[in-house]
Symmetry: C2
Subunit: 286 residues, 2 copies
């Protein structure tokens, strides 16, 4: 009989749960004949986004087709303040599902910029959260750079006063490395650790679980940065790590002769998908 | 024929050279019948301290025997401000040889304390420089801790806002490690890198030189913290590393069959000792 160990913090975080609640509430407005949209997928999980679409919450990639009276949900990753003003000017109803931990990053970069620091955001250049944060940095009149790889530090090393924040779902080990490097090169460094608790807990789970099991399954959207990082951490500890979005992707030969399987999931992975994966593993191992 | 490679930045740093100049100048006052003292050895090199004693500069461990009109040299490591006031109250002439880079550490902890940070000094608990810096922290009404080993971080991890400085001659790798650890644990971290350039350059030399030679000789006082750290770094890169204070300590069997010898020296090691060591190596290898 295979043993399946589910990471204690697998799945939805506070910010995602909150965003989905807001979207569910917004969906009720469709009964009054109003159109409800999210700007980009609400969370980085296609299946959950489909589920909400079934309730009338549509995904938009551009604001072009919107008209007065439409409801727009700002997703958990947040948006640049300039963008928010544009939407409001169109006479749209804005429902803000920006994660409070992401708002804390916006406040941190605003504060650092006002204190005159060159601001380093440790994160993914194209991630919507980072794009939103850069918008707040610009709003505060600040200068800065996104550091995704160590090479990105090159343009920072000449600066005298550097402030550092992180995308909420960053890899802690990489954040630590960047800060360690910077502290030797710049005269004054101010670090506000904005990696959220949910991220630390999920990563900590993987450090504990991955070395203890024969196979590790990481469940979540392929477009989910935090899921990809759980996968990378797990892979570095256990070569038999697989990233799946859905139960059907599980391959029987991954589980041949396997006694213990670990399962974790990104912060945007709904419980019903995690459950589906666990059931499928049980089926394949029986 | 053995090849001897001397590290480009071996020996006296700016602050030590300056302190010795001040002591030489002070020694002239003995010709006017005044007594000249340093509080503790001027630098951590017994031989250079002896040379200055020959010129009338005596070393004191306590201020008890001092009387009005005596000249007291504050050594390059600096002293707590309270101590300086005590000396002045005795009617002594103070000649301040505190290294300007050490003064910068005093300013940094004062600033951090005033900004309300809990101040971490990465350094040796009993080193006179750290004792002096702690005096400035106390003067500013600040709270803090000295971190000499990773375990010392335990009492810091509960703090929300932490400021970090370093003893000027700290190991950069350890400083980096401490800052990296702290940035994950505290909410806000402000780092002022006070490791002096002379320290970075000497350590960088060792990283370059030690792996390239058969034997590495580190020259300097056994009581010199920065020399000991050069020794530790070198040892981690080349097991055939030896720390000597004087040429006579060199052992013939260290150099059997050796083609390349590297030599470096701490910031308080005078040129005449480095030269003596180089000549002795040549003799033993000939």
């Amino acid at each position: 009989m295979v043993e399946i160990l589910i990471a204690p913090h697998a799945g939805f975080c506070f910010g995602v749960r909150r965003a989905i609640n807001i979207a569910e509430k917004a969906s009720l407005l469709t009964q009054e004949g109003r159109r409800v949209f999210t700007m980009g997928p609400l969370i980085h999980n296609p299946q959950e986004v489909d589920r909400l679409r079934g309730k009338g919450v549509e995904v938009l990639s551009s604001a072009d087709g919107l008209r007065e009276g439409d409801v727009v949900i700002v997703r958990s990753h947040g948006i640049p303040p300039k963008r928010e003003r544009e939407l409001r000017r169109k006479g749209l109803t804005i429902m803000d599902a920006t994660c409070p931990y992401v708002k804390a990053v916006h406040e941190a970069v605003t504060q650092l910029a006002k204190e005159g620091y060159f601001v380093v955001i440790v994160g993914e250049k194209d991630h919507p959260e980072v794009v939103g944060t850069l918008g707040y940095l610009e709003e505060a009149g600040g200068e800065g750079a996104v550091v995704e790889r160590k090479e990105d530090l090159r343009e920072v090393l000449g600066k005298e006063r550097v402030g550092v924040v992180a995308q909420t779902t960053q890899n802690e080990a990489f954040f630590k490395e960047v800060v360690g490097e910077l502290c030797l090169w710049v005269k004054e460094l101010k670090v506000i650790n904005t990696i959220c608790n949910a991220t630390s807990e999920r990563q900590e789970d993987v450090y504990q679980l991955a070395p203890e099991v024969d196979v590790m399954i990481v469940v979540g959207g392929r477009n989910s940065g935090n899921t990809r990082r759980l996968y990378q951490i797990s892979l570095s500890l256990n070569p038999r790590t697989y990233h799946v979005e859905l139960p059907d992707e599980l391959q029987p030969d991954w589980f041949k002769g396997v006694k213990r399987v670990g399962v974790t999931a990104g912060a945007s992975t709904p419980d019903w998908i995690i459950q589906g994966v666990v059931e499928k593993i049980r089926e394949l191992c029986s």
